[in-house]
């Protein structure tokens, strides 16, 4: 087992809606190792995005503990990078300024260096030549590339991705998955990847946590030992399909109320 980066211990989250208390997460425990790619997979409404928001420090929880690099998570911070589903780029900044914006709080880097880093990371995500475009002048896939560059530029130890490719068409989605793997191998950070797409989870991850809904809990942990670097044709191998089968059966069992 690799060194642990993130450890969640029996995390529970409740909120009140229409005067009714709803348990969104119940006793969620999981770990993410250094440089490990971990997916959180489940049907919509199972609380996987809620869990990611807790790790990001954007919401609070009632029970349990979240520990990142040995320190409990109390609020949002720069040791984590977040990529949201809706890109959330700053509309009045050009692409490179959006990336450099993430370095604003770093006093050790000069302005010129920030620009250089922004250009470097845009190149890394394949956006060379688009540095001076506004977000509104770019496609969804391109905007998400900028968002990934923005989340990586300040070298967080954990990258959190909340269904980042959910709004993209199938072709772009495939390209982005391969891009993400390349970038991840170059940057060597840990990733928590939230998705409801089984193929995506298996293809990208070292480990997959399968969640069940209402209340959201971890139903199963699956280690994916497909070799890296991964290539798209692996998705047609017997090994890949058996992982997929295992997860799909788990999800169906969860739905049937097993």
């Amino acid at each position: 087992m690799k060194e642990v980066r993130l450890a969640a211990e029996k995390v529970s989250k409740r909120f009140v809606s229409n005067k009714q208390e709803i348990t969104a997460l119940a006793d969620v425990s999981l770990t993410i190792g250094k440089q490990e790619f971990v997916s959180l997979l489940g049907p919509s409404g199972c609380g996987k995005s809620t869990f990611l928001r807790l790790v990001a420090g954007l919401d609070d929880y009632q029970e349990g503990q979240l520990v990142l690099d040995g320190k409990p998570i109390t609020h949002a911070g720069r040791d984590r990078g977040v990529v949201f589903q809706q890109y959330s780029l700053v509309p009045w900044f050009h692409a490179w300024e959006n990336v450099a914006f993430a370095l604003k709080k770093d006093p050790t880097i000069s302005k010129a260096e920030k620009k250089e880093l922004a250009f470097h990371f845009l190149k890394l995500v394949g956006l060379e030549g688009f540095e001076n475009h506004y977000p509104s002048q770019m496609s969804g896939g391109m905007q998400q590339r900028v968002a990934i560059a923005r989340a990586l530029v300040y070298k967080p130890s954990l990258l959190l991705m909340d269904e980042p490719f959910g709004a993209l068409d199938a072709q772009t989605r495939r390209e982005m998955q391969d891009l993400l793997l390349t970038v991840w191998e170059a940057e060597k950070c840990s990733v928590l990847f939230v998705t409801h797409d089984v193929d995506e989870a298996v293809y990208l991850s070292d480990r997959v946590y399968v969640m069940s809904a209402r209340p959201g809990r971890i139903a199963r942990e699956i280690e994916v030992s497909l070799e890296r670097p991964r290539t798209y044709d692996m998705q047609l191998t017997q090994e890949f399909i058996s992982y997929k089968w295992e997860i799909v059966m788990e999800l169906q069992g969860a739905k049937a109320g097993k």
Partner: protein
């Protein structure tokens, strides 16, 4: 674009044409509606007397000052209301109450308090503009995309930095629209203030003309205000595209 410019001219032309027909066609008594020629003659008369441009200057100065005073206070207070629940709770009942009090009804009191000075005009303009502006600016800030705020949080920004670097900048186009709208209302309050307690200004001139039933001068005053409003509105629009080029590309795409 050119076609739409055509339509703009056509709309103005049609109204002018109707005006010409009903006045020169003797359909309406000139006492009720003077002809375009009469209004032009009134204009040259007022220019000769040296009052038209000085009236414009005086009124413009009053409205500008009234607007600037209101805005200088409404902007920081509105932004804080839109970003802090405590501030909102403190100001909301106060602003809500005064907002519904008609500024016009304060005219007698304003004369009692400020006399017929420019200060009285600023006061009426302030009542009319500030309380509307502050609520609208608070709304402009409140409707900023929540996810942008969360981006700021994940980048380690403090609350103040989020307000300054994200919320204020994201709300700015909306706030510019608020300025444009309230500037238009300010003209109404200016005329209201000048109607009763002034010795010069466009509103005063209209009031005086009414006493002598000089309808041509009344129409002239109204037209001048309309044209001034139109020109400043165009300036606001120009400023908007200049300040927010990223909005332009958003519009083209959407």
């Amino acid at each position: 674009m050119t076609r739409n410019t055509w339509y703009s001219f056509l709309g103005v032309f049609l109204v002018l044409f109707a005006w010409v027909v009903v006045t020169y066609g003797n359909i309406i008594d000139p006492l009720f509606l003077p002809s375009p020629g009469d209004v032009l003659r009134a204009a040259s008369q007022e220019i000769k007397e040296g009052i038209l441009f000085s009236d414009i200057g005086v009124s413009f100065y009053r409205i500008l000052m009234g607007f600037l005073i209101s805005t200088a206070l409404a902007l920081p207070i509105g932004v804080m209301m839109g970003t802090s629940k405590a501030w909102m709770s403190f100001w909301e009942p106060l602003v809500g109450l005064v907002r519904y009090m008609p500024a016009v009804a304060f005219v007698p009191l304003s004369i009692l308090w400020f006399g017929t000075t420019d200060g009285q005009k600023f006061f009426i303009l302030f009542l009319g503009v500030f309380f509307q502006e502050v609520i609208m600016i608070a709304d402009n800030c409140k409707t900023v995309n929540r996810s942008l705020v969360e981006v700021g949080m994940t980048l380690g920004f403090s609350r103040l930095e989020i307000v300054r670097e994200i919320i204020l900048k994201a709300a700015m186009p909306g706030i510019m629209d608020t300025f444009r709208t309230t500037w238009g209302w300010a003209w109404t309050y200016l005329v209201v203030a000048e109607l009763v307690a002034a010795s010069e200004g466009l509103g005063f001139r209209i009031m005086q003309a009414q006493r002598y039933l000089e309808t041509d001068r009344i129409i002239l005053g109204i037209l001048v205000i309309g044209i001034l409003g139109l020109v400043t509105d165009l300036l606001f629009k120009r400023l908007y595209t200049r300040l927010f080029p990223w909005k332009e590309s958003e519009r083209i795409k959407g």
